[in-house]
């Protein structure tokens, strides 16, 4: 209760427009805290009353062997094996999930997103010289997000970035900068992409559907893999230190209990329950590379 009172008092001193209403909200928050309900506390908390969460992730850089592809798989014997061309850690995403939002993720609870539809609608902002498609008419029921569109580039037979975080209703634009046509598809939401391929130089705009993780694949490039994360709560990419072992993320969330999960290499590799107080929270999340990535078959010599 003191923390809530202090937070709201500072807000009152900053705004000072409607003191009676602010006093009333402060009283309600204090009452909710006395009752012990964090949900009630969040509901009673003002919109701007969020706490800063500082997440520190420890994950050592690894040099996993490349997965074998065909019959032959050996090292060259001249120079040691180098690291992967692209470090996957910048694509790591920290997601704070509220414990009682499973009903939102249930597709049955959101029939609008489960409805199919392959008729792409014209984008509102088509770039000059590029065909843009909107392949998510069923997601019209999803309220539009104020988040600016996110652009995903298909280049070198891969997507940049490979992990896309977009709140529900956010427009995601895929741009094919490769020499060949690419047709994307999503098993979790088949209505998200059209059946026709994305020609070189064209763009495709889709709307992030219901919360969840959506794996994107390409028929032309089986190795091409991207994940669209529509988080239930706040989510953010990690910023990695120069040495590469420590990553951090800063989020502003209402106080309460959350489940912090780290999404890395297209899967969740770590999870931790955290309690966010009005003063904020700071915790350390230790994660390791997925075992399947490291424990690949050793190459022959």
């Amino acid at each position: 209760m003191p923390r809530l009172t202090q937070a709201n008092a500072s807000k009152l001193s900053a705004g000072n427009q409607r003191p009676i209403a602010a006093l009333l909200r402060c009283s309600l928050a204090a009452l909710a805290t006395l009752l012990g309900g964090s949900e009630a506390a969040r509901a009673a908390a003002p919109a701007g009353g969020q706490s800063a969460v500082h997440v520190i992730v420890h994950m050592r850089p690894e040099n996993p062997p490349a997965p074998p592809a065909g019959y032959v798989y050996m090292v060259n014997g001249v120079l040691p094996i180098g690291p992967p061309l692209r470090d996957p850690r910048p694509d790591a995403v920290l997601v704070l999930d509220t414990p009682n939002v499973d009903s939102i993720a249930n597709p049955a609870a959101n029939p609008a997103s489960a409805a199919g539809g392959d008729d792409p609608a014209a984008s509102d902002d088509p770039p000059a010289g590029a065909a843009e498609k909107d392949a998510a008419p069923a997601d019209a029921a999803v309220p539009p997000s104020t988040t600016p569109p996110i652009e995903v580039r298909i280049y070198g037979a891969r997507t940049l970035p490979e992990v896309i975080v977009a709140p529900a209703g956010t427009q995601v634009i895929f741009r094919n900068d490769d020499r060949r046509s690419v047709s994307l598809h999503c098993r979790q939401a088949p209505e998200l992409f059209p059946r026709t391929g994305l020609a070189p130089g064209t763009r495709l705009a889709v709307t992030a559907p219901r919360p969840g993780e959506f794996e994107l694949r390409s028929a032309e490039y089986p190795h091409l893999r991207a994940t669209l994360i529509v988080p239930r709560g706040p989510a953010a990419h990690l910023t990695w230190s120069a040495m590469g072992e420590v990553g951090e993320a800063r989020l502003n969330v209402p106080p309460g209990n959350y489940l912090a999960r780290l999404f890395f290499l297209h899967r969740y590799v770590a999870a931790q329950a955290v309690t966010v107080t009005p003063q904020g929270a700071e915790f350390v999340l230790r994660a390791v590379w997925p075992t399947a990535t490291i424990a690949s078959a050793a190459p022959s010599r």
């Binding site: 050996m74 001249v78 070198g156 037979a157 190795h223």
Partner: protein, 546 residues
């Protein structure tokens, strides 16, 4: 006749053998062929994998050899350092790639810098360069230092690609990667078919990328095959009874085909890249073809052994039946021959029946009666006839013996009356205690087989009743005919000629003799008996009063 039946039997046996071969041998050969093809498919799978692995190693070796080219190393080194004109480096690298590929003949060769951007390529889009391909796992792995291979599906064709890193001339870093690709086409499929013994089909997606099948056999229902394979691989999938695991019978009409699947490792495997092995069970329904197939399998099949056993059994059964039948036929033919001779000989005598007629002519009874009279003058014994009362009657009666017919050895036409010894006959009948017509039939039947010397005795035969008496005419005729038969047989046994003998004349003679004797002795009947005396057949007439 038996020989012709034997040939017919053997011919039928041969036809049956052929039919049985077609019926029993063909299914077993087909089953064996099917088992053989399935086994061949099971062996062809690992063999094809080994062949493809060898090809991959050769391809990787070629990539390694190309990647060690100094010109390529220098070009990529300068490209990484930004020291050379990119177009010139591109031209230089492309020319060198052509030079290196001249002997190898790969379908696709390209070289990238350390970041995965193409410097030069040949075979596909040769004019394009600087485009990134680092997203391909094989390129990325090669840029890290791996030598490996992969399977690509480009423009509907399967490419077995190999990649090798290119090390800087100073051997201090990787400056790029070299990728070599070879099409898995018809040549590879035919090579696999030649080495494995089954047909090979490369599937890309749901289409045929390359195949060693030709003609109508190349028409495969890929959709149905993939659907059947999917159901087979599903948990609790439909695996047929007795079907080897991993094999599938082609779900399409036509000849029996067995399918084996070989997973192709690489990226194209996710796009439906698959090696399909096809073994077709040939059907050779001709008898020579079946025999060739049976010989090809090295040892007689089980059906063939059973078949041969059945044929041998039928053969022996047939031989036994044939032997029995031929024996019975010979007996019947012998009997028929005797009858034919008996019937035909009197007919032959008709035109010149004067001899018989002379033998049995009514004019001769004078001689017969004379002999009868002579016989009466000689010692004779009364003959018992019939019952006890008959014996009493006979005791007061005289018994006459009449040698009616007697043929000489040289001339059958000469008639001679043979008079048997009445004393000997009387003694025999007295010893036996039975009348001649009461003799045992079995003993009577054996009289011919146990024929005593011609001078031993005679056997009584039947009694011919007087015409108009109690006996019917037919009975008398039957008796006369039986006497005639016995007389003919007696002459044959005595090796006397029976030519010229006629039953009608014989009968007429007996009728006349009977009438004469009955008139002479006032008896009621006359018994004619055939006997043999001195190696000659003769007739004896015995009057009967009761």
């Amino acid at each position: 006749m038996p020989l012709s039946k034997l040939w017919l039997f053997l011919l039928s046996m041969l036809c049956g053998l052929g039919a049985l071969l077609l019926i029993t041998l063909e299914p077993e050969l087909r089953r064996r062929e099917s088992d053989e093809q399935q086994g061949r498919l099971l062996r062809a799978g690992p063999l094809a994998t080994q062949i493809l692995s060898n090809q991959a190693h050769q391809l990787v070796a070629a990539a390694v050899q190309m990647s060690s080219d100094a010109i390529l190393q220098t070009s990529l080194n300068e490209m990484g350092r930004g020291q050379g004109e990119l177009a010139i480096l591109h031209t230089t690298a492309q020319t060198q790639l052509r030079q290196l590929n001249r002997d190898f003949g790969a379908g696709l060769v390209m070289v990238t810098d350390a970041r995965g951007r193409v410097l030069a390529r040949i075979g596909h889009d040769e004019a394009v360069y600087r485009d990134p391909v680092d997203g391909f796992p094989v390129v990325e792995s090669a840029l890290r230092g791996y030598r490996l291979d992969d399977l690509w599906l480009l423009d509907g064709a399967l490419y077995r690609v190999a990649a090798s890193p290119i090390v800087a001339p100073g051997r201090d870093r990787y400056v790029g990667a070299l990728i070599v690709g070879q099409v898995l086409g018809g040549d590879t499929a035919r090579q696999l078919s030649r080495l494995t013994g089954v047909d090979a089909v490369f599937l890309a997606g749901k289409e045929i990328a390359a195949s060693s099948l030709t003609g109508a056999a190349a028409a495969l229902d890929v959709q149905a095959i993939l659907a059947a394979r999917k159901s087979m691989l599903a948990p609790g999938g439909s695996q047929s009874q007795g079907q080897p695991p991993g094999l599938l019978r082609a779900p399409q009409p036509g000849p029996e085909r067995w399918l084996g699947f070989v997973e192709l490792p690489g990226e194209a495997a996710h796009q439906g890249g698959l090696l399909l092995l096809v073994a077709e069970v040939t059907s050779n329904r001709t008898l020579p073809g079946l025999l060739r197939e049976a010989v090809k399998h090295g040892k007689p099949t089980q059906s063939l052994l059973v078949l041969l056993g059945a044929v041998a059994l039928f053969y022996f059964i047939g031989l036994a039946i044939l032997r029995v039948e031929s024996t019975a036929m010979a007996q019947r033919e012998a009997a028929a021959e005797v009858r034919r001779r008996r019937v035909e000989q009197p007919r032959e005598l008709r035109p010149s029946s004067g001899s018989m007629r002379e033998q049995l002519a009514p004019s001769e009874p004078s001689s017969v009666s004379a002999q009868m009279e002579a016989l009466q003058g000689e010692d004779y014994q009364p003959q018992e006839s019939g019952t006890a009362s008959g014996r009493r009657a006979l005791s007061s009666q005289s018994v006459n013996e009449l040698g009616v017919v007697s043929a000489s050895e040289n001339s059958a036409h000469s008639a001679e009356t043979v008079v048997a010894s009445p004393m000997r006959w009387a003694a025999q009948t007295a010893n036996s205690g039975e009348l001649p017509h009461e003799a045992d039939p079995a003993a009577s039947d054996q009289q011919w087989s146990t024929l005593p010397p011609p001078s031993s005795n005679f056997e009584p035969t039947l009694v011919a009743g007087a015409p108009g008496g109690n006996n019917e005419t037919t009975d008398a005729d039957a008796s006369f005919y039986q006497v005639f038969q016995e007389y003919v047989m007696a002459r044959e046994r005595c090796h006397e000629s029976v030519e010229g003998l006629s039953y009608e004349q014989f009968r007429q003679r007996l009728v006349e003799s009977r009438a004469q004797i009955m008139r002479q002795h006032e008896c009621r009947a006359v018994d004619f008996q055939v006997y043999i005396k001195d190696g000659r057949a003769a007739l004896r007439a015995t009057p009967l009063w009761k």
